[in-house]
Structures are given as C-alpha cells and as structure tokens.
C-alpha cells in the first residue's frame, strides 16, 4: 500500500519535472510586435506564425497574416482561438490580468524585453530563439547580425561633423512627439553617425514650435507614415518654425520606414546603413 503511494508520487513528480524542463519546439506562434515577427521570420519560423499585431507589416508573407492586436488592444479569446502554443509579446504589453488569463488557459507566454543597442539586438534574437526552442539557429542569426553590424559600422559615411537629428513622431498635426535621450530613435541616430538634437529629456515628449527652433536640427527625421500624415514634404516645410532651422533651410527632411528604423534585431545593420546614407 505504502509503496504504491510512493510510486504514484514518483510518477507525478517525474511527469511535472519533465514537462517543466523540456520545452518542445513551438509550432503555433503568435507574435505581437514588428521586431518580434521579423525576427521569428528570420529564424526560419515564419510559417509557424499564425497571427501578429497591426505593426507587423514586413515582409509581405507576415503582412498577410491576421492582425489580432491593435495599439495593444486585443482580446484574450481571439488570440486563444488560434490555439497557439507560444505567444511572444514585448514586455509590458500584457497586463497582470492578461498574463494570468493565458496562464490559466495553459498557453505559454514569453515576454521579450528589448534593449536598444547592438548588444541588445543579438540578445533579442537569442531570447526569441530560446523561446521557440531552437537556440542553435538563434546563435547563428545573432552572430551573423553582429558581423553585419560591425561591417556596416566600419563602412559608414563620415561627415565633417555629426549632424544634429531631430526625430518627430507624427500622427497628424496636433499629435506630434519628439524623441529624447534613451529612446530607440536616440540610439539608432547615434549608431548612424548623427547626434540627437534633444538632450534635455528622455523618451518621447510633445512637440512645440519653440523647442524645434531652439534645438535647430540639421536633419529632421520622420517615419514615412508620419510625414504623409502631415500632408507630405512640402506641407511639412510650411509648418511654423521649420524654416528657421538648418533642416528647413536645406530642405533636409528624411523619412524612413518605421518598422525598419526601430527593428533593433536582425535588420539593425540595414537600418543603420539606410539612415547613415540619408542624414549625411
């Protein structure tokens, strides 16, 4: 009798420890940011992605997938309906309640923290590969990316002095924010050989005309959809204050693809190169 009891305990314990430590390779993945979707795709698991968030628009086969999250609003049940075995989500996008809900449904959620640096990019790739259960390919892609970054950085165009770049995140006139220190944009500008025009604050803060004139950037950088939301290049140059800046005088308004600029993963070398080409 007593032996039987121990036997059962043993089976239960070994069952749980087995499920705990052997992470099966994820087959049905939901990716909830553009950088995560692109990285999973680059790791060769694009066909395992079932659905993404609204910002995952590159490449085309990812863009075609259903979008289950829009501006971080989503429904737990809609995501569950895809019967995923892994959800990859940027840290902080799921509330405590959401994490608890997925946990009680037995769906594995891995929150990915993204650091905006060269080291951060390779760490990001390794983290995602580990979550999928293919560390080998993660190592491969991380090393390849790191090599490409180093090559890119050594081949950058260099000006007489590094240009002051002001990034404006625009969603139409009235909703414009500028990037401060420590943001993803701040880091990519530095990597591409520029200098962020805003040094007074961190993260993103609302745009004001006077702050624009005071910072006097050599280049104004925007996402492509940001510039079109303001009515295009000509309309932007006509905004109050723009003509008083070096960027306005020289018509140095640069637009970049959003997901590429803030990818900070496998496409970081490409982003550095493209931005460097346009600001110098």
């Amino acid at each position: 009798m007593r032996i039987k009891k121990y036997y059962i305990v043993l089976i239960v314990v070994s069952y749980f420890s087995a499920t705990q430590y052997v992470v099966a390779q994820a087959k049905r993945i939901i990716t909830l940011s553009s950088a995560i979707s692109e990285t999973v795709n680059a790791l060769g698991y694009g066909k395992n992605i079932l659905a993404t968030d609204v910002t995952s628009v590159w490449p085309e086969e990812i863009n075609r997938l259903p979008k289950v999250s829009r501006n971080r609003s989503f429904s737990v049940e809609s995501i569950t309906a895809y019967r995923p075995d892994l959800i990859l989500v940027p840290e902080g996008d799921f509330s405590k309640e959401n994490l608890y809900q997925f946990k009680s449904l037995g769906i594995r959620v891995v929150t990915i923290r993204q650091e905006f640096s060269v080291q951060g990019a390779t760490k990001f790739i390794r983290q995602i590969a580990a979550a999928i259960g293919d560390k080998a390919r993660g190592e491969q892609l991380a090393q390849k990316t790191e090599g490409n970054i180093n090559t890119t950085l050594s081949q950058l165009k260099k000006g007489s002095k590094s240009p002051k770049v002001l990034f404006i995140y625009a969603r139409g006139i009235g909703t414009m924010n500028v990037a401060g220190k420590g943001s993803s944009i701040d880091e990519i500008i530095k990597l591409a050989g520029g200098k962020n025009a805003i040094q007074e604050f961190s993260d993103f803060k609302p745009y004001t005309t006077e702050a624009l004139i005071k910072s006097n950037p050599d280049v104004i950088l925007m996402f492509d959809f940001g510039l079109s939301s303001l009515g295009g290049r000509a309309a932007f140059l006509d905004l109050p204050g723009v003509s008083y800046t070096n960027a306005g005088k020289n018509k140095k308004i640069v637009e970049m693809n959003g997901p590429l600029l803030i990818n900070f993963s496998n496409r970081l070398p490409e982003a550095i190169k493209a931005l460097n080409n346009r600001i110098l």
Partner: protein, 347 residues
C-alpha cells in the same frame, strides 16, 4: 401583477443574455459543449463530460468571469444611478456626470502612478483591494463635495450641482493628464484603460474582489427605497415620519459610491449606464423607488452583458472599448426619452 411580469421577463432576459455571452465569442465552441462544461463544473453531466482542453479553459477562465463581471458592474452602475438620482432629486445626477466616476478613476490613476513609490511590497490581491478601496474613497469624496457644493439653504440645487460636477470632471481630467506626464509608458497604458473602460481583464480574482462591494449595495439600497420616495416630496417629509434624512443621505451615498468605486476599479469608466438605466426603469414601471432600485440593477446587468457581447463580437478579432458601445446604444435611447417627455410637458 404588471410588476411580476416585468420582474419575470427581466430575469429571464438576464439569464438568456448570460447564456449567450457564455456561448458566443471568437472561439467557435458548440453550444452542447458549453452546456456540458458548465454542468460539469457544478457536478452534473449533460452531453458527456467536458473535454478539459482549451475550450473548457476559455469558458471557465475567460468567458465566465467576464460575464459575471459584466453582471456585477451593470447592476452596480444601474442601482447606484437610480439611488443617486433619488437622493439628488434630479434625473441628471449620474455617477459619471456629477464627477463620481471621475473622482474614482483619478484616485485609481494616482494609485497606479505612485504605486511603486509608496507601496512597493504590495501583493497582487492586496493591490486589487487597495485599488478598489482607493476608487471607492475617491468616489465618496467627490460625491460629498458635489452634494455640499450644490446645497443652498439645505436644498440641493440642480444647476449648481451639475456645474460643480462639470468642474470636478474637468479638474479630475486635468489632474489625470498631469499624472500621465509623470507616468512611464507601461503605467500610461493602465491609465488609458481606466479612461476607456473594459471587461477584458476579468479573472476570478478580481471578480471575487468586486463581489462584496456590489452585493452589499444591491441588497442594502432597496431597504432605503421608502426614504428615497419621501425625499422626492421633500426632506422635511422624511423627518415628519420620524426618519433621519441625513442618515439616509449618508447611507445612500456610501452604498452607491461603494458600488461605483469598486466597479470603476476593475473595469474603468463605463458611461451612460448609470444615467440611462433608471430612466428606462421609470419608463417601464413608474417612479416608486421600491421598484426603481431593484429593477435598475436588473436592467443594468442585462444591458451591460449585452453591450459587452457587442464589444467582443462586432470588430473581431480585436474588441471595441465597452464605453463606446454603451454610449452608442445609450444616446439614441436617452434622446428618445427626452423627446417623449418634452411632448408630455407640452400637453
């Protein structure tokens, strides 16, 4: 007789909407399986046993708590709306219009923003209670403030009350805006959630936390119905039959803000329910508070369950903020009541 019919119809309607809410969603789950899972959970077995898989999980861990939260929040907003309209003797006094919801959410936002600063070691459950209690305190403070501001010679003045409500709404909005400048991105998201309203975060944990805060007012407020009826004639009438008007006032405000505060704490601000439901109730069966209070709770629960269903189903796979749905459904009905009453006044 008529009242019995209304009670029966509404109860059946509420039950039906609960069933639909459990049966419909982004996951296609056959109705037989829904019934099987639910009956299995309470110990019976119909249509064979539940599959113990993801379908059961969705029904038991996602849909059931969410539906229950809709019922509780709807009942809370409906009955507090009716009670507050009674105590203010004004059909426009609604938790969100006179600033009670704004007070609750401001307090909640403050707690979220300064949580890590002040109470770094809060456990999750205690955190819920703290939020609920904070929102309750915020609601109570604003209710008292608005009531006292609007009192002229012991009578609550309608226009002063509304203006005070507008002022407090603006103030709370401004302070919330100020806090959002101090908050980081993650906190900002929880703050946006408070302003929009959603039942999407329902878990057994927060539903069980909400339960006592709603059930006590829903049971307690109807006992004050007689007093509220006398209030409608005038405060001195209450004294004439030997009741203490101040005690009734305080009890109503405490119970109503308790329900509203806790609801706001778990689901954010959901507008229009508190204003609209009591009007709808009076349209059905007159102004007697012994009828208006319990039926407002019933209709509130019914309407919010339906609204949540709409918010989940019409823009799949994402969902619409429930506040958008209640305002879209509520405004036309409210305008209809307004026009109808206007005709009555002319005749």
């Amino acid at each position: 007789m008529k009242k019995t019919v209304i009670y029966t119809c509404l109860s059946v309607g509420l039950l039906a909407s609960i069933c639909f809410s459990l049966a419909l969603g982004a996951m296609r789950i056959p109705i037989t399986e829904v019934i099987g899972t639910l009956t299995h959970a309470i110990g019976f077995s119909v249509f064979g046993n539940a599959d113990h898989g993801i379908n059961e999980g969705v029904i038991m861990m996602i849909r059931l708590p969410r539906t229950l939260m809709g019922v509780l929040v709807g009942a809370a907003l409906g009955i507090s709306g009716a009670a507050i309209q009674g105590i203010f003797r004004n059909p426009l006094a609604e938790p969100s219009l006179v600033g009670i919801s704004a007070g609750a959410s401001l307090m909640a936002v403050l707690i979220i923003a300064f949580e890590t600063l002040l109470f770094s070691s809060l456990s999750q459950l205690l955190g819920y209670y703290l939020l609920a209690f904070g929102a309750f305190a915020g609601a109570g403070i604003t209710a008292m403030l608005v009531y006292n501001l609007s009192k002229i010679n012991g009578q609550a003045n309608v226009s002063t009350m509304l203006l005070a409500g507008i002022a407090i709404n603006a103030m709370a909005g401004a302070l919330t805006g100020l806090v959002t400048y101090l908050a980081d991105e993650q906190k900002l998201r929880s703050i946006t959630f408070w302003m929009m309203g959603s039942l999407g975060g329902a878990t057994w944990q927060n539903v069980s936390c909400l339960f006592p805060f709603v059930i006590i007012p829903v049971i307690g407020l109807p006992f004050l119905a007689k007093g509220l009826n006398l209030f409608a004639i005038g405060e001195n009438q209450v004294e004439l039959i030997g009741l203490n008007p101040n005690r009734i006032k305080i009890l109503v405000v405490v119970l109503a803000t308790m329900a509203v505060g806790a609801s706001v704490a778990v689901s954010g601000i959901i507008g229009f329910i508190g204003l609209l439901i009591p009007h709808l109730t009076r349209l059905l069966g007159g102004v007697d508070h012994r009828f208006v209070l319990p039926v407002s709770a019933l209709i509130g629960a019914l309407v919010l369950t339906l609204a949540d269903m709409v918010s989940r189903l019409i823009v799949q796979p994402i969902e619409l903020p429930i506040g958008v749905v209640t305002a879209l459904m509520g405004t036309p009905i409210f305008l209809y009541i307004l026009i109808k009453d206007k005709k009555k006044l002319v005749n």
